[in-house]
């Protein structure tokens, strides 16, 4: 018995001493792994409560991505039945488990700002003004989701581009869209058209017409690939709006008078 206790004591002492020795190395490594996004911080207790026993065990057992994928797949049925609150709850869990999954964030926001906002118009229990208010609320929520995603991953071009597009199309917030395109421009891997879109949004942002004109003009002279119909139209409009003297105007642009006359004659608008 004495021998057994002695042995047990020795084993415990070795394990404790080993634990004390490895702790600093382990802590440093853990910090670095979290910093490099290879390791995620453990989910908060409230997330584990929502997950349920099996999912929580799987997450703690190292299968976080699979559990996140499971919740995303579960959300598909909510999409089919237009249960938007349930869908949002499932995506929130997926977002907490894999906060750096860009596609997941974009899909989550799309469900809310596009699908949910459109679905309210099928809801016969609401009056028309209520439908518009509800749709507006969903769009705001969707944009909020994208802003949260951008906060998580400020280095994601896809998120900035998606945010810009949603602000432009759903909110007609051209100043906000211009800012998002500007942030995308500062990131590596942005699409070639981002710089033009930044100019187009600036052109529609009140008070920033001069900046827009300078930017689009710079692009116009930089490369012929930028000579798009929208570019011609915006530059011509800006020249009129900013009262740019005739001598300083860019030659070969379609001016507003020509466009008005074309519209009057029933010719289609340049896209």
């Amino acid at each position: 018995m004495k021998q057994l206790l002695k042995k047990a004591g020795l084993v415990i002492a070795i394990l404790m001493a080993g634990g004390l020795l490895r702790s600093p190395l382990e802590n440093r490594l853990e910090t670095r792994l979290v910093e490099t996004h290879l390791l995620f911080t453990p989910p908060a207790k409230n997330v584990l409560d929502v997950l349920g026993q099996e999912s929580a065990m799987a997450v703690l057992g190292g299968m976080r991505s699979v559990v996140a994928l499971y919740w995303q797949l579960m959300a598909i049925s909510d999409w089919e039945y237009q249960e938007w609150d349930d869908l949002a709850k499932k995506f929130e869990i997926a977002a907490l488990l894999t906060p750096r999954d860009t596609d997941m964030w974009i899909k989550y926001a799309w469900h809310i700002h596009t699908n949910a906002s459109a679905s309210v118009f099928d809801d016969a229990s609401m009056t028309e003004p209520q439908q518009y208010l509800a749709a507006d609320d969903y769009i705001e929520q969707g944009i909020g989701i994208l802003y949260r995603a951008v906060k998580q991953m400020p280095d994601s071009v896809d998120l900035q581009m998606d945010l810009a597009q949603v602000l432009r199309e759903k909110r007609q917030d051209y100043c906000g869209a211009a800012e998002a395109y500007k942030r995308a421009l500062e990131l590596e891997g942005h699409p070639a058209y981002t710089t033009r879109f930044y100019g187009y949004m600036l052109a529609k942002c009140p008070g920033r017409e001069r900046e827009a004109y300078e930017h689009l003009k710079m692009l116009w002279f930089e490369d012929e690939k930028h000579h798009m119909p929208s570019m011609r139209r915006d530059l011509a409009d800006l020249e009129v709006k900013l009262n740019v003297p005739e001598a300083l105007r860019i030659p070969g642009l379609e001016n507003q008078d020509e466009r008005f006359s074309r519209q009057r004659s029933g010719q289609p608008e340049v896209p």
Partner: protein
């Protein structure tokens, strides 16, 4: 004459004394490891590969609505690595837990230990055999995953690119960026770090199980306790940190928590597989440190296993 007699007597005396075998003999360890490898393969563990293949084939054809190409590729990786993880942990625990009891039941243990085989060699050989099977299975599974992922990447990316090319105003630079985004989730060399991290985790799990099996009275006990330690090892550190933030925490509970954190390996460290599968850049230096941590754990648990096993009577 007398000198010759003396020297003959001395040499006879030397021959008569028991020759102490070297503490560690690589050839002996290798022999034990290969025997263990064969023994475990005869248990038809490779049938699991068929299950793995089936799961990967299902996920290959699984395309729920709304999933982008990158998401589909990532799903294949996530599910495959999860299956590899589960297999490795289950196998490391179960196969290590049955080794010593089975050797006792077959009386192989008596045959081995009656020979000049140090007990450290026995433990090392058995552990190495288990890890060789886990490693071989991981290589096969990864090779299959790599093949499937490569084919899936080619099919999905080319289909998506031809769809995108039809869109007006889609310039070559944008197309290239989009292709790079999609291919980022495809097959790349850094993905190899994922099975490596799973293997390192299996090494620690097997070493802990080996330690438990040196004093456990039944295989079931070893398996259950190992699985529990495996789970505890994933969250003990964060639980302890939360406990420490609570100013009203009981001192005894806090001390016990600290002891658990010190004694049980931090398995959460090996969960880098999620990040690797998400195509986050991997620093080889960090993987080197993970390897070092694994080595520390394995040596530590082997040492305590040896202390228990050293003069154990069978």
């Amino acid at each position: 004459m007398s000198d010759t007699t003396t020297s003959t007597a001395e040499s006879a005396g030397k021959d008569a004394s028991p020759v102490r075998p070297p503490l560690i003999s690589p050839s002996r360890i290798w022999s034990l490891a290969t025997v263990t490898f064969t023994q475990l393969l005869r248990m038809k563990v490779l049938y699991f590969m068929l299950i793995f293949g089936l799961i990967v084939a299902v996920i290959f054809n699984f395309n729920p609505s709304g999933q982008t190409v990158a998401q589909q590729l990532k799903s294949t990786k996530d599910v495959s690595f999860a299956v590899m993880n589960v297999f490795s942990m289950l196998f490391a625990i179960a196969s290590t837990a049955i080794l010593i009891p089975k050797d006792l039941e077959d009386r192989t243990l008596y045959t081995i230990l009656s020979k000049p085989v140090p007990r450290l060699d026995y433990l090392l050989g058995r552990l190495m055999g288990v890890l060789m099977v886990v490693g071989a299975c991981l290589i096969i599974m990864y090779a299959f995953l790599a093949l499937v992922l490569f084919v899936q990447e080619q099919i999905l990316v080319s289909a998506e690119l031809s769809r995108l090319r039809e869109q007006p105003q889609m310039d070559s630079e944008t197309l290239l960026n989009m292709e790079n985004d999609m291919r980022k989730q495809g097959l790349h060399w850094p993905l190899l770090y994922a099975p490596l991290a799973i293997f390192l985790k299996a090494c620690v799990v097997a070493a802990v199980t080996l330690f438990l099996s040196t004093f456990a009275s039944s295989t079931l006990f070893t398996i259950i306790v190992s699985a529990m330690l495996f789970l505890i090892g994933h969250f003990h550190k964060s639980t302890y940190e939360v406990l420490m933030e609570d100013t009203h925490a009981n001192a005894v509970v806090a001390l016990l928590g600290k002891l658990v954190v010190l004694a049980v390996p931090n398995f959460a460290l090996f969960n880098v597989v999620d990040g690797i599968a998400a195509a986050e850049p991997v620093d080889p230096m960090l993987m080197g440190q993970l390897f070092l941590v694994t080595a520390v754990y394995t040596v530590l648990y082997l040492l305590v296993a040896l202390i228990v096993f050293m003069d154990k009577e069978f």
